[in-house]
Symmetry: C2
């Protein structure tokens, strides 16, 4: 989806993302893009199979060049996490160890707290096919796992990074219902405007004998008004609707002038327009 | 990451995902995989550029065959949403319309409520390069947008679907801190076992004149015990630690028997072991 605003400040802070022996440059690039989407920038790679730098990674990063340019490559995982204070390992499998297992929401809140406290943190992601080894998980403080469909739990590495990056972004938001833009605030029309619409429409309908038989008219008007007031129209919307009524009214009255009684007698007007009683 | 458990029930319910004129089969496949990861199964496609079926889509779906096999293809968006009661449009751009804009969290809660009430819902995703047109957005009830980095807001279509699918899954969870598996509950050792470790270690250190000068011994013991009790060891861990102390103790006492005073006098014992006072 389009929508990047290059005049905005580029967010680039938070935990380091550490990929252990990734195989495909495309995946590394998509990881970089996912990080950039949600304000992360520090990407570390342990033994990329196809070497580094990688043109495939840069292409797949879709202009997340600041992440690609800053990549650090290591031979050993121990070196890649040497300067960090706290590390999560991501895994979809139960490990027979004693490390606490956290949801992405909990883990992101922990990472945010540590970030605020000035600690350096990181998140480990394993190989495309085999994930992290037990020895690699053992280097982490805690485990994070995703609430996936149990029968289809295998997440692509870039998607796993995306989810953690997204939760990282959310962990810094006070209101999870907040949106970056919204529709313009709509002021409902005054009741004078609304009643003007009612009367305009009812007059046009009356001219066609829509309210038939006369004994049912009060109930039909009531239902029609309920339909028209269930949503609070704005002044502008009322103007549009009155324009529509006026337009229909002019045309129909010319046609109906010589034939109004026949049309009314067969009840066509009510059925074709949708009987207000059933609304 | 590995971890699929094919004996588990396959989740396949919730809103339809509707892709409007997607260009690449690979993206459609990654969308199917993301849906399967989080329990969605109903994929509808309007005018896929490269036709349907697509072998590239199937390959990229990584065995989400139940989603690929169930794909419905439409020529017009109007037909693709004809049977739905409520539709979201995803967009990263402000639209000059009057539709409410929701966060993924809010939108997923709404979709879950409507699902429980028996309504049929869907989420629209636009073209890779240009997203949805204003006319297409106008067919939706509300807009959903992602809390992205303002300076890098362009989300890949499969990643956008992944985030909505993930939030859909979370909207059905009572506890967002819940995890599908966790470490085995650890019972802390009894204080008898813990004090046994303290005394075992302190005896071995005493034999090497570690607590030097004698006036500092109480403070050094206190610090050492604080280090060893900050985390609640289990019985098994205490056994492991006492085995380590025993092993070091045997070796060192043989070596130290003739030389213990020299070593102690230079303070090597304290520095090399990490002085307990600084812990």
């Amino acid at each position: 989806m389009a929508g990047t605003n290059s005049e905005q400040v580029l967010l680039a802070e938070g935990p380091a993302i550490i990929l252990v022996e990734p195989q495909l440059g495309e995946n590394i690039g998509m990881v970089a893009r996912a990080m950039a989407n949600f304000g992360l920038a520090e990407l570390r790679i342990v033994n990329p199979r196809d070497g580094w730098p990688s043109e495939k990674a840069r292409a797949a990063a879709s202009k997340a060049d600041h992440v690609i340019d800053g990549v650090m490559v290591y031979e050993r995982l121990e070196d890649a996490i040497a300067d960090l204070n706290f590390v999560y390992a991501t895994t979809a499998r139960f490990r027979d160890g004693f490390k606490p297992v956290r949801s992405p929401v909990t883990a992101s809140q922990t990472l945010r707290q540590k970030f605020v406290a000035g600690e350096k943190t990181g998140i480990l992601f394993g190989r495309e096919k085999s994930g992290l080894s037990n020895e690699e998980v053992a280097l982490a403080d805690e485990i994070v796992t995703f609430p996936v469909n149990p029968a289809f739990a295998s997440l692509n590495i870039a998607q796993a990074v995306l989810l953690m990056s997204y939760e990282w972004m959310k962990s810094g938001m006070e209101d999870l219902a907040a949106v970056p833009f919204d529709a313009v605030e709509q002021t409902p029309a005054t009741k004078t405007e609304l009643i003007g619409l009612f009367e305009h429409l009812e007059d046009a309908l009356d001219a066609r004998n829509y309210f038939h038989p006369a004994s049912k008219k009060p109930r039909m008007v009531e239902n029609l008004r309920a339909v028209l007031s269930r949503r609070a129209f704005t002044s502008q919307e009322i103007k549009v609707l009155r324009g529509v009524v006026s337009s229909l009214d002019r045309f129909q009255r010319r046609w109906a002038a010589k034939d109004v009684k026949t049309g009314a007698a067969t009840g066509d007007g009510q059925d074709a327009d949708g009987n207000a009683e059933t609304a």
